[in-house]
């Protein structure tokens, strides 16, 4: 028991009081204002569909893979979208390996609801042969470092990975057109997924004195705050989902204020994701061009000699 006690992160009484008093003067411990978001950096891996998002100290890695499976019986013409979260013990001393805890399941549900209910990903285009073969898209989110506000970072990682994922092209063949031939990427160019809009999750923290509201709470603020709410909105102003998980009650006007703040932040975050994806796509296209050189390059060094 003692060994486990020795390794957890603790918050002192001094810190709890300080975070609350500082918020009364609208100061947060990392120097941000209450409605300021942390810097987001989005990076991509070599494979299609892998992304790494850093939101301040929080780091999340997203990975998208696809497999051909039989569809669900009640939805024979739709593909399947599933989200798996892994809370690595290196992210936080309280994360245990093995079964996902409450927080992991909640995070998965929020992101899942944001993508599925709002129909952000077009699942009908994933159907190859009705009732027989559809693509099952699997999004794996690995939490690498917990610096607070995992939901937002994981959501951005999932969206970035979905936008850069390419699935193999396949066509029907065989004697009666019932066989599916999956073309390897060298023969036929893999296709991107159809994503209609980007639902962005924005999290808020509520503090007990005089309903103080902050956006994008850090790890320390999460330990002190009295309630949290995550709103998933997109750049068009549609509200995709709202999740308020426990904590104290908030009046209606505070929720409306949160939604308005979220919509304005969502626009800038959507732009950032799209720009980053654009850069990566251009880079990948250039790399593909170099793969089949039609002319040999000239070695400049020979000329100098």
């Amino acid at each position: 028991m003692e060994g486990r006690l020795a390794n957890s992160w603790r918050l002192t009484v001094n810190d709890k009081n300080f975070i609350k008093t500082a918020l009364l003067s609208e100061i947060r411990i990392d120097g941000r204002k209450p409605f300021e978001y942390r810097k987001i950096s989005i990076k991509f891996g070599r494979e299609d569909g892998s992304s790494e998002v850093q939101l301040g100290q929080t780091r999340v890695m997203g990975m998208v893979t696809a497999q051909l499976v039989q569809p669900y019986r009640d939805r024979p013409k739709e593909g399947i979208l599933s989200i798996f979260t892994e809370f690595s013990p290196m992210a936080d001393p309280s994360f245990e390996p093995g079964r996902p805890g409450e927080l992991a399941v909640e995070l998965g549900r929020i992101i899942d609801r944001g993508l599925r209910e709002s129909r952000a990903v077009d699942t009908e285009s994933l159907c190859i042969l009705a009732s027989k073969f559809v693509w099952a898209i699997r999004i794996d989110l690995h939490i690498l470092d917990n610096g607070g506000n995992l939901v937002d970072a994981a959501n951005i990682a999932a969206l970035a990975a979905l936008l850069t994922f390419r699935r193999p092209e396949c066509s029907l063949g065989g004697e009666d057109g019932q066989e599916v031939i999956v073309h390897p990427p060298e023969i036929r160019e893999p296709l991107p997924l159809t994503v209609h809009h980007l639902p962005i999750a924005i999290s808020f923290g509520f503090f007990s004195n005089e309903s103080i509201l902050v956006i994008d709470p850090t790890h320390n603020e999460e330990a002190v705050m009295g309630g949290r709410m995550t709103t998933t909105v997109n750049a068009n102003g549609d509200i995709c989902a709202i999740q308020k998980s426990g904590g104290e009650g908030v009046p209606q006007r505070v929720i409306m204020q949160c939604l308005q703040l979220a919509t304005s932040k969502a626009a800038s975050i959507t732009k950032q994701i799209k720009d980053a994806v654009e850069v990566v796509n251009t880079e990948r296209a250039l790399r593909k061009v170099k793969r089949h050189p039609t002319s040999t390059g000239v070695d400049v060094r020979e000329k100098q000699n």
């Binding site: 001094n14 810190d15 300080f18 008093t21 500082a22 100061i27 411990i29 990392d30 120097g31």
Partner: protein, 240 residues
């Protein structure tokens, strides 16, 4: 092997060593007493490094290895910041960011008797001294200095505590004063307690002073002296 044993100890001082490097050969220095600090181990005549870091030497005869980690390994006579986790009949259990909990005896206070045992709630921050630190045992702590006086040890009220690496704590405590603290001290007034276990506590009259000092110190780890002063000036201009 012959070459290694005949190399002079001066060649390793202030350079990076890794565990296993033989940094000193005692057979060539017969009539001297050498004091070994952290990270060094004696195997008969050879002194070898146990930690990765820089070998340091201070006259007349002290050698030690300096490295910066996030973990803390308790050493005797270190001053540290601990957080109360639990209180038992004889000891308080204190979290000191080390491999094991520290024990603070309930009587280890100035004028402490069984009648006036202090009551600390869970989460109280204390400034403590390490009395005993042996491998495998829980370190023993105290709220008095070696002669039994209180000497600023004990609970810290208000303020804000943040965590750093052990190397940064040592830099903050070094003399002459670390450039970042000097630059901050010229413009702001604040109170600071630095624990060698990688914890720093700051207190000031207004919350934004505390936030500026905390962020300045956290950012100063990888900067050189001049860069630290520039960084502090930049931060202070942004407030005013």
């Amino acid at each position: 092997m012959e070459n290694k044993q005949s190399s002079s100890p001066a060649s390793f001082v202030d350079s990076t060593v890794v565990p296993g490097d033989v940094v000193l050969d005692l057979s060539s220095m017969t009539s001297q007493t050498i004091k070994l600090g952290g990270g060094l181990r004696q195997d008969c005549d050879a002194i070898s490094a146990m930690k990765a870091g820089t070998l340091r030497f201070s006259k007349p005869n002290k050698y030690w290895i300096e490295s910066s980690q996030k973990r803390y390994v308790p050493c005797v006579e270190d001053t540290i910041l601990g957080i109360v986790v639990d209180s038992k009949a004889d000891n308080f259990l204190i979290d000191i960011k080390g491999p094991a909990m520290g024990f603070l005896p309930v009587l280890a206070f100035e004028g402490g008797t069984r009648r006036n045992i202090p009551k600390f709630e869970v989460g109280t921050l204390l400034y403590l001294r390490v009395v005993k630190a042996n491998f495998g045992m829980n370190p023993e702590l105290s709220c008095t200095d070696a002669s039994g006086k209180a000497a600023e040890f004990g609970p810290l009220k208000d303020g804000y505590m943040f965590e750093t690496s052990t190397g940064l704590s040592r830099k903050l405590l070094s003399s002459p004063t670390c450039p970042v603290l000097e630059a901050l001290g010229k413009k702001l007034s604040f109170e600071i307690a630095v624990g060698l276990n990688g914890r720093v506590w700051v207190n000031a009259a207004s919350p934004d002073t505390i936030v500026v000092v905390a962020n300045a110190i956290m950012n100063s780890e990888s900067l050189s002296g001049a860069q630290q002063i520039i960084m502090v000036d930049h931060l202070l201009k942004n407030i005013q």
